[in-house]
């Protein structure tokens, strides 16, 4: 529901009435839909799936096989990246066919690549959450609590309506950086120094949260 329906609802709803003009243009609508999908997959879906498998002993069962531990986790990441790819394609197709927002071919490719990069950011945040929080129930609640600010912050990176401090924090938040990159990927803004900054910040977020998630991750329920 969160992964596919919510991005599509947002894609359509942000174009209704006066919303479109207030929130941003077509590129903003697509990038918001993609950001919501990525946060849903990485921060909520992935971390919860990992926590549940840990609680029920699925990981311990896999770890007594000769399969190296890293392959167990990489296989999960591949599944999530597959989900991101499908979600991004669905959003772009719906945007083109049903909402009338089209991009140039190279921008489609670039947008999907940036979506995959964004998924690394949010998967690593999910990994950090599942590393720091032991119980699946607590993690479910924490994931949902984080969901709102992660998406909320991505809304105001290009707007000073809530003040310049909020704008600054928003712009350099994980969601804000992704918005900046997606905007450039779709050709709505030129690739600039800010785009490079967002790329470096996203890479930094990925490394930071991945290190936290791997350092404190436990395979078995505590």
């Amino acid at each position: 529901m969160l992964t596919f329906a919510l991005p599509l609802i947002l894609l359509v709803a942000t174009g209704l009435g006066k919303n479109s003009a207030v929130l941003g243009g077509p590129a903003f609508r697509i990038s918001l839909a993609l950001t919501v999908g990525l946060v849903s997959i990485g921060t909520v879906g992935y971390s919860l799936a990992i926590a549940r498998d840990r609680d029920t002993g699925v990981f311990q069962r896999l770890r007594v096989t000769p399969a190296p531990s890293w392959t167990i986790m990489v296989s999960r990441w591949i599944v999530q990246l597959g989900a991101v790819l499908v979600m991004a394609i669905v959003v772009l197709v719906v945007a083109a066919v049903f909402v009338g927002i089209t991009l140039r071919p190279q921008n489609y490719l670039f947008t999907v690549l940036i979506a995959l990069l964004g998924s690394a950011v949010f998967l690593s945040i999910g990994q950090a959450i599942v590393g720091l929080i032991a119980s699946a129930d607590t993690l479910n609640a924490a994931g949902r609590l984080l969901y709102v600010p992660l998406i909320g912050l991505s809304l105001f990176g290009d707007s000073d309506r809530l003040g310049t401090t909020v704008e600054l924090v928003s712009r350099w938040s994980p969601g804000g950086c992704l918005e900046t990159l997606l905007s450039a990927a779709m050709g709505a803004t030129a690739w600039s120094g800010q785009s490079w900054g967002a790329l470096f910040a996203s890479t930094g977020y990925t490394l930071l949260f991945a290190v936290i998630g791997i350092r404190w991750f436990q395979w078995g329920a505590r």
Partner: protein
């Protein structure tokens, strides 16, 4: 009995300041069923976890058919089949897909008919397209045991394999464990059931507070300890294996 399937020497496992396993040594012969008995918290599961490579021992050595578990964990894991105390499999997979996945992890290519044959052998042929969570407790244990032996390992580790099963399911599982032994494999199992230890195990070790207190055949343990004052104090008539167990490990409740 031709050699040792498992050799554990001076094994120590600690969780912070707490010593879960405190210098145990044991040998399991090829084709032998060896039982680890002990109250809750005695160190049985920690011992098994160290052998399975799930936790790192503080010190000591574990050799599975002369393969060092700590030096060659992947090679050692290929030599063991494991049924964990509480196991679950991927909820999104069907039973037949779970069998295929785990066979693949051990490098055993199974065709579709072979998967269905192996499921039929444990009376799960009709359940192939169901999920693990949809199976009864007995069916789940049978599937876990099938997966533990899917690669024909020389040593099978079973952590309380019959806990929570009704008498019929328990007997069926004992028969299956006996068949595994008859195929030449060794089995190390933990249990709280004295009946299981007596019915299934060739030799039994009684553990308490991380140490092995005694090792022998079930009948040998009774013979060895039947005059122990602590055992006699808890016996109600003829000394049983349970009297020996309680006499040696104490009457107090463990959590």
């Amino acid at each position: 009995m031709t050699g040792l399937a498992l050799q554990v020497r001076d094994l120590h496992v600690s969780y912070g300041p707490m010593r879960a396993v405190d210098g145990i040594s044991l040998d399991i012969n090829e084709g032998e069923i060896f039982g680890l008995l002990g109250p809750n918290g005695a160190g049985k599961t920690s011992t098994l976890s160290a052998i399975e490579g799930l936790l790192k021992p503080t010190s000591g050595s574990i050799l599975i058919r002369q393969v060092d578990v700590r030096a060659n964990p992947r090679k050692a894991k290929a030599l063991i089949g494991v049924q964990l105390q509480s196991t679950s499999f991927q909820s999104e997979l069907k039973i037949s897909e779970i069998v295929k996945l785990y066979a693949g992890l051990y490098g055993v290519p199974l065709t579709k008919p072979a998967i269905f044959d192996s499921l039929a052998e444990i009376h799960l042929g009709d359940e192939a397209s169901r999920r693990f969570s949809q199976l009864s407790g007995g069916q789940q244990k049978r599937l876990s045991l099938l997966i533990a032996t899917i690669h024909d390992p020389p040593l099978v580790l079973l952590d309380e394999p019959t806990s929570g099963l009704d008498p019929q399911a328990r007997r069926q599982l004992w028969d299956r464990i006996e068949r595994i032994r008859k195929s030449g494999r060794s089995i190390l199992l933990t249990t709280h059931s004295m009946e299981e230890a007596q019915s299934v195990c060739d030799r039994v070790a009684i553990m308490n507070r991380g140490k092995i207190l005694t090792v022998d055949t079930p009948a040998g343990l009774i013979e060895k300890h039947k005059k122990d004052p602590n055992v006699l104090a808890v016996a109600r008539g003829q000394v049983t294996l349970e009297d020996v167990f309680i006499g040696l490990t104490g009457r107090e409740l463990r959590d």
